[in-house]
Symmetry: C2
Subunit: 439 residues, 2 copies
């Protein structure tokens, strides 16, 4: 007994039992179908990379959270902590083999040694999709359309895709004469939803005074329509500000494309969204479930000028977003959208000691060839034990073949939920009832 090693996983890590893994795989599959329908293609990169590649020459702030070590050959390596940095390295390395603009998605695990007391996992899945090598409004809009398409495919109910343009915010600050304080202002605005208007106002006032703070709060307040919000935002910028005009037109183009593609009702212009400070340079997105806004954004992203400047002198502007798989899974579970999704064409062939095993397997093979998932219970146990197995596994039906029913060509099928048995008088009838393919 003392030789037994206690089976346990590391803190911040977890097993996916079948139910959870089926839910995750089904979610991922639907996202993939959506990505593919927009011409996005999948890639994969190594989990381990040179630490210098992932962290830059200096190391950096993320350092402490990164799983970094010397491999058996003495190389300084690290496990990827996101999918963006490996993608940048990938594009720098392979751009000659690829076609631009490159639309890729990457759904894979990443690792961060985060504080688990905040309920964070140290191993989690990310799902990124980007269009790299173009600065077109078409690409910006495609990201919005993919988000809308994915949410529809996932049947999460109504969503709000909030968009904004970093450039317009910057030009407004320039017109207000406080571009130099943009970091502090963005940080205060970012807190609006958490701390409320009043506290944001006093935070801003201490930086730029009351008049400009009032303007800022006015600027970031959405109007009743996309167009009205856009006009108000532009009104705050200088009339001859070309940069502001370009940003205005970009937002307008994106909205037109969303309208033409039938998803304008999901798209909201929200000037309060800024998404971090350094990375994004153009349009930014966040996505909220109407039924569950408090869970936070389930898909966020934006446009960036330079994807891979650490690794290449090639200009690679792009736009993309990342789906919060864990949040989405949690939301789908609460909304009851997961169990409805299970494949119901499933069957247990109960094992009653007769007919012979080979007859049960022959029947299971015939069922599978008609598109029904079928498994033979491998041992002769009490039927109640076999039913209980099926129920725990979520299998809705048990076929109760015995020597007599087999000889008569009859198929007694137990509905495990209602606990009653119907007898089908032909194999085809059984197959059709189970939703299998007609011969």
């Amino acid at each position: 007994m003392s030789d037994i090693i206690e089976p346990r996983v590391l803190r911040g890590f977890r097993d996916y039992l079948p139910e959870a893994e089926i839910a995750r795989a089904s979610l991922v599959r639907k996202l993939e179908v959506t990505f593919n329908s927009f011409g996005f293609v999948p890639i994969d990169t190594p989990v381990l990379e040179y630490a210098e590649i992932l962290l830059g020459k200096g190391g950096g702030e993320t350092d402490k959270q990164v799983y970094r070590f010397k491999d058996n050959g003495g190389r300084d390596v690290a496990m990827r902590f996101d999918l963006t940095v490996p993608f940048a390295r990938f594009m720098a390395e392979h751009s000659d083999e690829l076609y631009l603009p490159f639309r890729r998605y990457h759904i894979a695990k990443v690792w961060r040694g985060e504080n688990t007391q905040r309920g964070r996992y140290r191993e989690f899945m990310q799902c990124d999709f980007d269009i790299v090598g173009t600065d077109s409004a078409s690409a910006d809009a495609d990201i919005v359309l993919v988000i809308a398409g994915a949410m529809k495919a996932l049947k999460v109910g109504d969503v709000r895709i909030r968009i904004n343009h970093r450039g317009l915010f910057n030009r407004f600050l320039a017109a207000a004469g406080c571009a130099g304080k943009s970091m502090a202002i963005l940080r205060a605005v970012d807190k609006l939803e958490k701390i409320g208007k009043e506290e944001t106002f006093s935070l801003l006032s201490s930086e730029v005074g009351k008049t400009i703070s009032a303007d800022i709060l006015n600027f970031i307040e959405p109007e009743s329509s996309f167009e009205a919000t856009l006009e108000k935002m532009s009104g705050f910028c200088a009339g001859n500000d070309e940069e502001a005009m370009i940003a205005h037109n970009r937002l307008s183009n994106i909205y037109e494309i969303a309208q033409a593609s039938g998803c304008a009702d999901l798209v909201f212009l929200d000037p309060s969204i800024t998404r971090g400070l350094d990375y994004y340079t153009g349009v930014v997105f966040e996505t909220f479930l109407k039924a569950m806004p408090t869970i936070g954004s389930i898909c966020s992203g934006g446009r960036y000028n330079e994807l891979a400047s650490l690794y290449t002198t090639k200009k690679l502007p792009g736009v993309g977003a990342s789906v919060g798989l864990d949040r989405l899974l949690a939301a789908l579970e609460i909304l009851g959208k997961i169990s409805a999704d299970r494949d119901d064409h499933r069957l247990l062939l109960a094992n009653q000691g007769e007919p012979e095993l080979k007859e049960l397997h022959a029947c299971a093979s015939r069922l599978r060839s008609r598109g029904i998932s079928a498994e033979v219970f491998p041992e002769t146990k009490k039927l109640m034990a076999q039913y209980s197995y099926a129920e725990k596994k979520g299998i809705p039906y048990a076929l109760l073949l015995d020597a007599a029913s087999l000889a008569e060509g009859k198929f007694p099928l137990r509905d495990l939920a209602v606990r009653s048995t119907s007898v089908f008088t032909s194999f085809d009838e059984l197959v059709v009832f189970l939703g299998g393919a007609r011969e």
Copy 2:
């Protein structure tokens, strides 16, 4: 310039570019469909585990190949080097939450710091499927049927599933009075295919003399049919040997089930297959492509007595196998089974500066809603450049909408392979031609 970090991956690691990743994902998807049809369910486990869990208390021989390090909390951790050890830990930890017999599959990456000079990768994907918690012939047979089903789904052409029973071999050695030398004998037999009969005979002779060596070579030579081989093997065992009789009946049962399930023609009894020395205790399998036997076994496994004895005192007998994904992918590529698999319902909407972007996106949305993958080229470039993009990406068609064709309700479609353009006079016609869904 000197600040640029050279983009490169670690030796023994590789990126999956879209074509390779699509091929891998398609292969995995077909395996999953087969596993599901037999009632197997997916699980996942962490990439990082306590080193003690993965390596046992002592460490062990695999040690040098394992990526093992101290994490930021000082824990001795390692990256999984296979999927069997984590599965054993998983079963020990979760058996109360699960239903037995438990049929699971797990398709995921593992890491080994192997010598890359032998062409081995240090990061590769494994695909394991097992039935745990039963010693039934039904479960053994199911593994054979899954292999047959998977190979059929992958359209790899004819395969040979070679099976054997470790117990029958052991009883033969007992009858020959050389059970004590079984390790050396198994090792010599394992080399038969590589070194040939003569050298195997001399290897064996030095251990057990010429008479018994001749018997061994006779014993491991398959006869013309499964039944004939089985009778010969049993003939070498003592007549009253109960263990040999049990093994004989097991093989016979498995073959009967394969016959009843329509795949007996793929199953061969091959007494020379032993698959390693310690782990397997009953039936063992290997799978070879008839068109490419030299690539080695593409799916191997067997029955074991104890899955999780390192972590629990519960008895967990099982049977399972592992698909060699890299070998299979290589074989499918050589056999030309990969490209035929690509989705042809794909389309590029060429961007000629007219009609407006929003019209192109509206058309793309309509196409997607009918099941056609459609992407708008985001920039107005020369058509030849857009065609070249599509060709590199493997997109077969380009739609050449301009303002005039849009106004007239005409859809000029270029077939990029034959370089000719046909004009469809309705959207429905276009959709039907592209293989989309009828309205």
